[in-house]
Amino acid sequence: MRRFRANSMAMIGLAILLLLVAVAIFGPMLWTYSYTDITPDLSKPPSWAHPLGTDTLGRDMLAMAMRGMQQSLLIAGTVALIAGLIGTIMGVVSGYAGGLVDASIMRLVDLVLTIPTIALAAFLGNAMSNSGVSWLGLSLVLGALFWTSVARLVRGVSLSLREMPYIKAAKVMGAGRIRIMLGHMVPNVADHIIVATALLVGVAILSETGLSFLGFGVRPPDTSLGLLISNAQSAVLTRPWLFYAPGVLIILIVLSINYVGEGLRDAFNPKAAPTNPLVAHRTRAMQTAAAPVDGDNALVRLADFRVRFPRIERPAVDGVNLSINRGEVLALVGESGSGKSLTALAIAGLLPIGAEASGQVLFDGRDMASLSFAQWRTYRGRRIATILQDPSTSLNPVLTVGAQFYETMRVAGPVSPAESRKRALELLVLMAIRDPERRLDQYPHQMSGGIRQRIVIALAMIHKPDLIVADEPTTALDVTVQGQVLDSLRVARERTGAAMLFITHDLALVAGVADRVAVMREGQVVEVKSVHDIFEHPEHTYTQRLLALAPRLDQVVKASAPVTGGQEPLLRVEGLSRHFRHPRGRTRKGADRNIHALCGVSFDLMPGETLGIVGESGSGKTTLLNTILGLHAPSAGRVVFSGEDLALPGARQRASRHMSVVFQDPYVSLDPRMTVSELLAEPMQIHGGGDIERRARMVLEQVRLPTAALDRFPHEFSGGQRQRIAIARALMLSPRLVVLDEPVSALDVSIQQDILALLADLKRELGVAYLLVAHDLAIVAELSDRIGVMYGGQMLELGEAGQVISEPRHPYTRVLLDAVPIPDPIAERERRTRSRAASWPTAANPLPPCPVPGVSS
């Protein structure tokens, strides 16, 4: 609420609103005249006796206005309550249930939305009784027509909530529908409901007064603000007080409600301050720079560069000194929050609004401080090219790729479309993009992430820049695609002769890319060295730690304890398949519309065993997991847990006692409105049994968190601590199986190792079985007894961890292994000269087709 109080317009609105409500409630009791009183003063302008004047019958305008306000506020408030209630129920049910229920509720909304409210309300109100409609009747009619706006909003939020891991976690726990809707969904949409309902009061006032104005709302002898205006229609010029007073009151009420509503919305949903890259960043004062040393070969030189944000103690970038020589590749390595991206953005002139920078940024000997937007344009694109992290968002979705090439070509002067096309084609060929002609006429959404990122690189090459800034260019991509994109970057650099600033969190990746490496931590550069030296003789303890943490697949020797055979498997998956149907589109017809998300997957998981499943995006690993957890129904096949088929009625509920899950992102897998003790209590409330309090303290100890954590909310913890809370919740019922869905991929490298170590300890201590799913082979290898490799919904290889890593049988596993970067410059560069593993699948050796039962393919 502090944010609401800081919003002056909202506070003024609230004050005015409260004042008007008070006047409407208490005014009539205190004022001399009643709204029905007829005084001898006819048509008097405002005076002390009648502050708002009187009308032609001699009625006191102030009394009537107060009565009108009373009526309007009463009706509008009731309408908002009714509409808010109906809308919430409809919206939550629609959003949670989805499918047919959702479709029919949304059709109902469409239906109500085709009706002009005023027409139907007027008719219903008029037809209900001869003497006009009562305030309650009017409220009911309007409420029944206005709920749609709330319902649409709540449904939208609920739909996205439904996909939130904390809702999924509750389902896996075995929570019922009512519990999920009332316990998790309503509290999390509550702020949206409050805002929508508040704004609805304003809409309702306008509608009610409109109806009364037309003669179908409140009727004489009672009065309403709309009716007062209607009566004064012809008196605007002769007796203006009669017309302006009620109008201004309506405007005041609605205006203050809207400001309060907006204030509430902003207070509830603090969004990161939106940026505007069109506004040049000018907070950094031009410094009287010491003339750069002559003969300095540096292309970029940062001297004592600092960035700080208002009201934040620690500077985000704290005195960085760095230089990049011409043609050199400098890698900037650091974890999130280390200031590496801000440093890169500063070189391209795009610091976020509010950042205060100081120190020097020299590009080619020129200080880049306080360049105007137009001056920056002579650098951007032409001399400094930038590649952003996420290729799925860096291209404009509504322009063709060809158009985006054309506009970039024209930055340096006029180019004919034909010439632009020719050069774009050459660049795409250089980037090893197949079928470049067709790609130019396509939109970004029609291509894979890898191709998009290579197009972004091609765009960066157009003007042969002096410097390419690549900000985590492969982080959003799959590991096998990562190699191709790195190759493309290498080509781009060689062709243009540009220097490159390569920013990454992954030290291993740097080995094969960089000439020099700078390691950043908490805004400072802790070590700068040539790539060989940094891997051979790391000096700073932080660098040493990062190197020690980097998993070395090539050195993994797995001495996995063979799982004792002959036991009954804890989890058995038999021929599990899941097919989705693509929506009809002009590009897909018939059998093409089937997506084989999961195709005949079978395996056994023994008690106490860890099975790791590795695959890239689209491999079906997440679908497999969701199907085992009961979040999707399988199209074919069975899931058997402790000898019981989970498709049988009640079996899922029984199994949910012994099976729990830890999701990828701890920022969204814990309900933000629950304290840690409530979060931990939930599984036991559902399944009953035991002293919740004692058990909660015990599991917190097991995950190495202090018991003081119990009364706090998830947002008060760091990412690693939250993941510990999620693990603690998974352990509450002493499960036999914990499903781990990418448990560390959302965390920083140094925290990843802590969590992995914790998971390994817990496994030893508790003898729990893990089903681990991840895209990172190194993480799977570290924890698993056996490893399964998935691609295109199929399990290609399943074997002992040591065997899969050192003697892979399937060609795809070899591709996957080969793509993992080695944190050793010599080994990595050697490997590059050796050709990469033959790619798979190929035309000659395709992915086997997936038979769909009941559907001809």
Partner: protein, 328 residues
């Protein structure tokens, strides 16, 4: 694309049928169209009332009445009116054109204004231009349309009086008698349109421009705009192709959703300016509890809403290639 339109059309037709049925039931259950006849003093004889019931079909159960009404509508007959000699279709037909004229002009102007004002406010977010536009828009949203209409009408009258000439038309949708030639006719109609259009435009442009502002603010912080800046594109190119173009998608939705409110607004505006449009017809029918007439009015409004929504769907496909290729 054609398949998309076809599917939407079929969907809309279904919604129309269901929605008319629901509204028909509501209207039929809400009250007795003959209530006034029954209460009349001296009492009207039973036989007259019964004859009236049969003429209006009130002796039949509601589903039968609906079917009869629906088959009639398909053949262009909107059913009997409470007023014995009124043909609903003939009475309503010329009025539809009058109202659509007002609504269409208002939509186009309000949409253009909202685009410009919203984009401008977003580009200069938290600067003077934004504060001026945003405050103005907030006041406009809070203005009751009928109050603004009355105010403008009276102001028009006052100006006419002061100037001693007719500068603003304040009554009616066209002069009586209407000019014969088409050019003077259009000029005359346009003159009558000015004040009502200002009312309708102001009220709706205001809330639309808020949405446009939000959309542009969001669009400005998106990665592809940052990338466009980093590629060194010119300011005008970035604003036009990278900021505004993708931000057109939300505003189309908002306008489409707001159409019924526009019809409600048109009713009020027409009443104040005494147009012979759909608004007057509606109010009169409501006062008479003329169920069939109100049904006819609601049907026409609903058809108009559905048609405008179809236009919105087509606009989506034009603006967003993801819709065009059936992926979103």
């Amino acid at each position: 694309m054609l398949a998309l339109i076809g599917r939407r059309l079929a969907n809309s037709l279904l919604i129309l049928v269901v929605s008319t049925f629901v509204v028909f039931c509501l209207v039929a259950l809400a009250g007795d169209p003959l209530g006034e006849l029954r209460d009349r003093q001296p009492p009207v004889s039973e036989s007259v009332i019964h004859a009236e019931e049969v003429r209006l079909g009130l002796d039949q159960p509601i589903p039968v009445r609906y079917l009869r009404w629906l088959t009639g509508v398909v053949q262009g007959d909107f059913g009997p009116s409470v007023k014995p000699n009124q043909n609903i279709g003939k009475e309503l037909a010329p009025r539809v054109g009058v109202t659509l004229r007002l609504v269409s002009v208002a939509i186009v102007i309000a949409a253009v204004l909202a685009l410009v004002a919203g984009t401008f406010a977003a580009l200069y977010r938290n600067r003077l231009a934004d504060h001026v536009i945003s405050t103005g828009v907030f006041v406009l949203i809070a203005l009751p349309s009928f109050w603004l209409a009355v105010l403008l009408k009276q102001a028009g009258i006052a100006i006419n009086k002061a100037a001693g000439a007719r500068i603003f038309f304040t009554v009616g949708d066209v002069s009586v008698p209407a000019p014969q030639d088409w050019l003077p006719l259009i000029v005359d109609m346009a003159g009558h349109l000015i004040l009502p259009t200002i009312v309708l435009t102001m009220i709706h442009f205001a809330s639309w421009s808020r949405y446009q502002r939000t959309a542009v603010v969001e669009s400005l912080s998106s990665d592809h705009v940052r990338f466009a800046v980093l590629r060194g594109l010119s300011r005008s190119r970035i604003v036009g192709a990278h900021v505004v173009l993708p931000a057109l998608i939300p505003i189309v939705t908002v306008i489409a959703l707001d159409l019924p409110a526009l019809f409600s607004g048109a009713v009020i505006t027409e009443t104040v300016f005494q147009w012979r449009g759909m608004g007057g017809f509606l109010l009169e029918s409501i006062a008479n509890r003329d169920a069939n007439a109100v049904m006819a009015w609601l049907l026409i409004a609903a058809v108009a809403v559905v048609l405008f929504n179809l236009v919105a769907d087509i606009l989506y496909a034009v603006v967003d290639p993801r819709v065009r290729y059936g992926e979103a």
